[in-house]
């Protein structure tokens, strides 16, 4: 099954969850409805699609222009040697999206990083807290509203 037929197959089987497909510089992109994200990912992980690896998870802040965040997943299927990018839009106010921790183990740290950097809450994450920044850090540094080189107050020493 080539990448195009694979996308068609996904659309036929999981059409309700898919908002659209696109091709970006040769990468296959699937745009999905955030409400059905978890279900779609669970189906993609199993047979017949076999996207067993969550290569990457990140987020893009379009707040400046479009008032939204976009969560970007990269899946990889070992048996077919194909990558798939999945995008879901999240509103900019109180952004929430379903956690994938039960599906992939690395989703734990990846989601913590997105939470840390963008302030996006992942529903169902067992231990959602900062990972790269420290407790007591104010704001979410990769948001466009966070100024580059902003200085933070010094924290008091711990006991």
């Amino acid at each position: 099954m080539g990448p195009e037929t694979l996308i068609e197959e996904i659309r036929t089987r999981l059409g309700d969850a898919v908002e659209g497909v696109s091709d970006s510089f040769g990468d296959q992109v699937l745009i999905v409805r955030p409400v059905s994200l978890r279900g779609l990912m669970a189906s993609l992980r199993g047979a017949p699609f076999d996207y067993a690896v969550l290569l990457d998870l990140t987020c893009v802040d379009f707040t400046a222009g479009e008032g939204r965040f976009e969560i970007v997943y990269h899946l990889y299927s070992l048996s077919r040697d194909v990558r798939l990018r999945i995008k879901a839009s999240v509103r900019a106010e109180n952004p929430v999206v379903d956690s994938l921790v039960g599906l992939w183990k690395n989703a734990d740290w990846l989601e913590r990083e997105v939470f840390d950097m963008f302030g996006i809450a992942f529903l169902g994450h067992p231990d959602l807290r900062r990972i790269l920044m420290y407790d007591g850090f104010e704001g979410h540094p990769l948001r466009k509203s966070y100024p580059w080189r902003k200085e933070q107050p010094r924290l008091p020493l711990k006991d």
Binding site: S24, F25, G26, D27, A52, V53, L54, L55, D56, T58, V60, D61, V72, H74, L78, D81, R83, R85, W104, K105, N106, D108, W109, L110, E113, M117, D127, R130, I131, L132, M133, Y134, D135, P141, L142, Y146, W148
Partner: protein, 441 residues
Amino acid sequence: MESRIQKEARPDSMLVNMGPSHPAMHGTFRIMLELDGEKILNAEAEIGYLHRGFEKTCENKTYFNLLPYTDRLNYVSPQINNLGYAMTMEKMLGVRVPERAQKIRVLMSELSRVSDHLTCLAAMAMENGAFTVFLYMMKAREFLWDVIEFTSGSRMTTSYIRIGGVRADLHDGWRESVKTAVRETRGVLKDVHGLLDKNQIFLNRTRGVGAISREDALSYGWTGPCLRSTGVLYDVRKAHPYLIYDRLDFDIPLGDHGDNYDRYTVRMLEMEQSLRLIEQVAALIPDAEPLDRTAGIEPAEAVRRGRMRRPPGRILLSPNLEGSEKERYPEILTADAPVAVPPKEDTYTTMEGLISHFLFFMDGYGIRPPKGDVYFSVEGGNGEVGFYIVSDGTDRPYRLHLRAPCFHIVSALEQLIKGRLLADVIPTFGSMNMIGGELDR
């Protein structure tokens, strides 16, 4: 605030900190351990001590200017990071890279891969008491870095691989230095096999320790030698061949048990394959036309004479720019404008050259890829190094994200050491090849 491990700890157990400043933590990395005697009941890893806002910084730099920051991700094999970034941009810009530059890139990536594996295994062996191995491997690494240094001018943070090609051609006499490096590294590998493969102390600390199943390794998103040590065949060079890897002959060594010993073996065997690749690609690179670097006009003189009309003959360049003479350009950098820095000879002497120089470096000009997002990855020292770049059509990335291979690998550490002994942390952590620069970004 209390950490998770503090909240969950049993009242009769002991909490111990390993790191962030600990000789076996390869930089700054903290593991909190809940111990019952020497047995680890619970573990929590804390990262971020080397976080320097790489992604945020990149959003505020031009595509050309952010290249040196990519050197500092995996600082043991910086050229592979350069390559990953450069190739992601080339995918976006649709640029074709000259054949010679592609071969030089393969040569440099493989030299970096060997030095990456050497560093990882050297540190791992030293922490298990094999100090000799450390010294031998560091010695071999020096020979590899000689090749890199003679060509690029620096040992580690080279910024040598550029968007559209490489900064300079290989140095004169590169063949000899490559030959020496390969010979010395082969010798060291043979010695290390002899020192470690049947060494009972080393075996006891690595065999069956830190084992991970295939399913878990995939579920954690492991890639690179760590994934291959569990027996999964996945290498970006084979699965999605880039540069000229599809024309080269090399094998992908696989492990079986996914334990520390397999991670050691896979790395050792991979280095041999990389040395093979280095020899193959060196044979494919033709000798460059020799250049006379002594005869010509000094740059200052050329600028003075260039006010009236274009000065005749060659312009001498600073020795720092050796290898990036105008004559070398068609072989090493793409001609598509404006992707590569214009040749210095033109900048010094002609009005058009100066204008194209400014058009490359001026704010808002320079490299401006079309709108859209792109993902591209190369096989790094410890796994798939992927770049995800979102462009809004300006000269700076709207968003740049690095898929750091060791972020995924290290996230499995807690699971691997739970229930084991305290001493098992050292070889397990050592065989993962945690690199702070790319883990914390």
